[in-house]
Amino acid sequence: MPELRLEHIRKYYKGLPAVAEIDYVFHPGVYGLLGANGAGKTTLLRMIVGVLQPDFGRILCNQQEISHMGGEYRRMLGYLPQEFGYYPNFTVHRYLRYLAELKAVPPELAEERIDETLEKMGLQSLKRQRMKNLSGGMIRRVGIAQSLLNDPDILVLDEPTAGLDPKERIRFRNLVSELGRERIVILSSHIVSDIECFADEFLMMKAGKQAQSGSLTQICSHIKGRVWESLETLESARRLSQEFVVSSMKNMDDGSIRVRMLSERKPAKHAEPAEPGLEDAFLYYMTR
């Protein structure tokens, strides 16, 4: 069972911290890395996969520093970058064959692994298609397929659901849940609902720092009593949205508006405490 440990990780760009002091331990399971754009998620993931070196701190895989492990660490790794590049003239099969070769998948196993991953991603019919003829969502699926080719122990997926249609998102969720039983799966997203229902643990980042981490229950328990709902008129709803962090507004049949908001105290006369969700927690930590 792999263990991935981040110790005091810091990374600076032109003197400004992109990632500042991250300490975290990953065990097998699905981890959701949440943060607004520019929070440092991609930088952190790039350091985890070894493309970037931390300026301070170290990353250990099974007690060994990953920078010393070289190919041995990369053999355990599957990575889908945020911007997934491909060769337009390659067919899907050729591209995966190329990656299988680079990932040191034994030649006798490569075809089997390619077929398996294509099947999992619903890409079998596109095997002989040139990549330049695929849609954005299809390309993303090829990207996920390549990350699975070597049956990795550590799977790092940066914004994996971007561009996937609802049906493909469901297929993807089921696949990741299955994969997360025996390996570390780290997913990043700035869309909470994308990973809320299948990640075991969450790591929230804000301005390069670890804002909060834990399971859905743990994270939500931290903000218990700070989420409120109330039925308001249009005018009072507008006033509340200026005064408090509003996570949703919904028009009701009777013309009123159900306002869900975050507040340390009761924000309105008719406001009732509500059960916090991940989106509320995300908003709470991002706006704090």
Binding site: V51, Y79, F84, G85, N89, Y98, A104
Partner: protein
Amino acid sequence: MRLWKMELHKILGRPVLNFGFFLILAFQFIIFCNDVSGKQSEIDGNVYRGISAIEADRRLAEEYEGLFTLSQAEQIIKRFGFSGYRTEDGQKAPRYREGNFCSQWVTDNMTDFTRTEKKPAALKEGDAWRERGRQYLQQKMQFGYTAGWAYFHSLWSWSMLLLNIWLVLMVMPVFSEEYSRKTAHVLLTTVHGRSRDIWVKTAAAFVLGITAFLLLTLWLLALTISVYGTAGMDASAGMFDYRALFAKNGGMTVGRYLLWAFAAKFAAVCLNVCVTLFFSSKCRNTVTGVVVRVAVLYPLAWLLNEIVYSMLFNWMYDSGLIQQLWGWAALDILGIVCSATTYYLSWSAVIGVPQNWNIIIAAVLTLIMTGSLWRAFVNYRKGT
């Protein structure tokens, strides 16, 4: 092996650029055919044209083959006269060269006739004789039919200039395209992506460069041999490249000259591949990389040699600094650096350099090539 094939496939997967190589071959063919069709030879009152002229010249040169003497030169002039340029009736520009290979060679290399149009009373007259003509005799030059090899080498050198630009276009994407397509993000996280694959990419670039060079050379060699034959291999290369008369302890045959030229041009290709790979690893954008690389490929070498070296030489000569150890050492270093560039290697410039420079040039080339490849490796590993 599979990875190697895939990397080669990536380099070759650009039909438009591949076509460029065949354009170079076609260009060689057209230029070559044009030259052959324009050949004319006048021997004992008979006029031969095209391939017949080449055959007639070759047969004629056989009569004078071997150690070239003053008496042979005089015999040639006595038999065929001086070779000037004939103007067609009603036209101003000269079109045809009078005479044949033998009379043209003696006229061009031992007399001032083509410049002054004055027939000298004897061969031992004029600047050409003093500067060059007598050297052919003193250096014990072997005469032979070298017209084909002279043309072969000239066209070969010109084609090398085109080939090296084509190679820049083909090799530049090796690393830079991985950055610009964002594929490096994935490749650098794979088992072989940060180690073996970098060398495999490098090997694929070398295979492309060397194969293209060999194909181009063989194609041109086949054209030359099919028309000119193999005659003249034992003749002195000094017949068409004056530098060769004094190079490598004198007496350099055409065969040896071509082997040296082959080595120099081969080195030019290898150097170009190495330096282009270095630029490729530095540039995030392929087009920028190509522009920068082509800008330094020829102009920098030319400027260094033709402007900087000449100015430095003149300044040192005028100020007397050339007499000092550091003065000529500085000039030698600059000369060696210039000789070790793709541009001058393509022109086989190493043939004309002092013999003791060869080992230094080889060392400089090895240093530049290994340095470029190592830096390319390190740069690409750093990735994005």
